[in-house]
């Protein structure tokens, strides 16, 4: 018991700090990658290659004046950043980030809490973050902020459904929502991105909307709403929204890596998931997990500096008219396929079944792309036929 408590406390401390440091570095990476994509250099003055820029920014945010609008609801105005910050910090807790670490006192699983409810916990907690945003919009007593908050609530609720639906496919295949079990399944067979490509795509798109990132950053929408829900916030309160947004990004990337890309599994090898746990295995799998997460984080940034923002009706249409029906149809198809393989053919999940499902997904993906390619995702506010 003592061992568990001490190990958990150390893990909580490490994970929390790693996330905060990661988020700080991510703000720098975001700015530098953005600059490179625009043929600029980006911030490179504070420290080597600008590495201390986040520290300078943090210091600035601590020293800045805390403004508080005269007509704001003081209590909620203060509460809002906390409400959006805490869920963002909590969600990473269930994601396994490396293979178990052997210590003198016992084997420590490299996950803060291996909850049986697994990613359901993440879905539940991450959608709590929207309260912070809505409260911020409401408490600011500012029209722009309120609009941002309302948009955030509508957007996050809409895409939460598509996201949840896409994870149902994972649930069907893994038969379990515990993330460590999901990873074990992927290690024995194949990464779920092959047998569940379409689910991954839906999850990927929804994750962008869930984290309020471009092309779905309507709650912020600096062109229309100044800064949306955090218009009235300054100093560390603003910074907390910022940290929350970026740590949500980290969690979403880690979740994508875990659910669809084998978590801490090192590709094309089996030695990392079999045999006795060892320190070198833990370190290497941690590196593999970080690499996968970083790839997705880079994609987030890459997409942000490429795509323009959706219009509000396009956002809603994509969520409700494309992603939700697509996810429902996909669940049906995959459920039938899995039933066929499991019950009729008596297969268990392994490379054979994964590739068979992968083939099915490839066909579905082809149909989907052909269908989407006909101007169905984004169109003008007037349909072509009506003109």
């Amino acid at each position: 018991m003592t061992f568990f408590l001490v190990a958990s406390a150390i893990k909580v401390f490490l994970v929390l700090n790693l996330i905060l440091v990661g988020v700080a570095l991510l703000t720098l990476v975001e700015r530098r990658v953005c600059a490179w994509m625009q043929d600029r250099l980006g911030p490179n003055r504070v420290g080597p290659q600008g590495l201390l820029q986040p520290a300078a920014d943090g210091l600035k945010n601590f020293l800045k004046e805390e403004t508080s609008p005269a007509m704001a609801d003081k209590a909620l105005f203060t509460l809002a950043p906390i409400v959006s910050f805490i869920p963002a910090m909590l969600t990473f807790g269930v994601i396994p980030f490396a293979s178990p670490l052997p210590t003198r006192w016992g084997v420590v699983p490299m996950v803060v809490a291996d909850l049986p409810v697994g990613f359901l916990y993440i879905l539940a907690i991450s959608s709590l973050g929207v309260y912070g945003i809505v409260l911020a919009g409401w408490a600011s007593n500012n029209k722009y902020a309120l609009l941002g908050g309302l948009r955030a609530s509508a957007q996050m609720i809409s895409y939460e459904i598509a996201m949840g639906m896409s994870t149902v496919a994972v649930l069907l295949l893994a038969g379990n929502v515990t993330l460590s079990q999901v990873i074990t399944q992927q290690q024995t067979g194949l990464w779920f991105v092959v047998p569940l490509t379409v689910a991954f795509l839906i999850f990927f798109i929804s994750a962008f909307a869930e984290t309020n990132r471009l092309p779905f950053d309507l709650p912020e929408a600096e062109g229309e709403l100044i800064a949306g829900y955090h218009t009235e916030y300054s100093a560390m309160k603003f910074s907390m929204f910022y940290i929350a947004e970026y740590s949500n990004m980290v969690t979403a990337s880690a979740l994508m890596a875990t659910l669809f890309f084998g978590g801490w599994d090192i590709p094309l090898t089996t030695w990392d998931s079999t045999g006795d746990p060892s320190v070198i295995k833990t370190l290497l799998t941690l590196a593999a997990f970080s690499a996968k997460t970083i790839v997705f984080l880079f994609t987030y940034i890459w997409v942000r500096w490429t795509l323009p923002r959706f219009r509000y009706d396009q956002l809603m249409a994509l969520g409700w008219k494309v992603l939700l029906p697509l996810a429902l149809i996909y669940i049906t198809v995959v459920a039938v396929a899995i039933w066929f393989f499991r019950v009729r053919l008596g297969w268990t999940y392994g490379p054979g079944m994964a590739w068979a499902l992968g083939g099915l997904n490839f066909v579905l993906l082809l149909v989907l792309v052909l269908w989407l390619d006909r101007g169905r995702i984004v169109s003008g506010s007037v349909s072509q036929e009506a003109a």
Partner: protein, 168 residues
Amino acid sequence: MAIGVKVMKRPTQQTSYLRATLKGMALTFSHLLRPKVTMQYPEEKSSKDWTLASRWRGTHRMLTDEQGRAKCVACGLCPQICPANCIKLVPGEDEEGHRYPLIYEIDEFRCIFCGYCQEVCPEEAIHVGVHYENSEYSRDRFVYDLERLTAQTHPVSTLWDPSDPKGE
């Protein structure tokens, strides 16, 4: 739609969001690897793509003769032509009857850097220079007196030559 917005019927390859997205992603990624255009300003003041033009009209400079005296003969043409009225000139005369400026001051804040003073100067004494870094800690430091004007070392402007408009 109530108002008659006409939407052109376009082929799929022009309206496809998927293709446009992928194309855009490829473009931004290719830019990620391209050479950067940023000049690291205080360390690097000119590059092969950009350098200060020789016709640049910046901080003034008063040229001097062999004895180190200002070439100015205090004729008064430059304060006369100056559209911003930024040149203060008090002429003086020595025993041999040579005119020289007792006070010659240029207020760099008022100056609009038109270069008329250089164009009008019969002695080629006052010049605008190829130089732009004149930050100071106080406002009164921006009134350059004769001593400071003669102490400048930057190259003088070639101005615009009507017979050679492209500077070739």
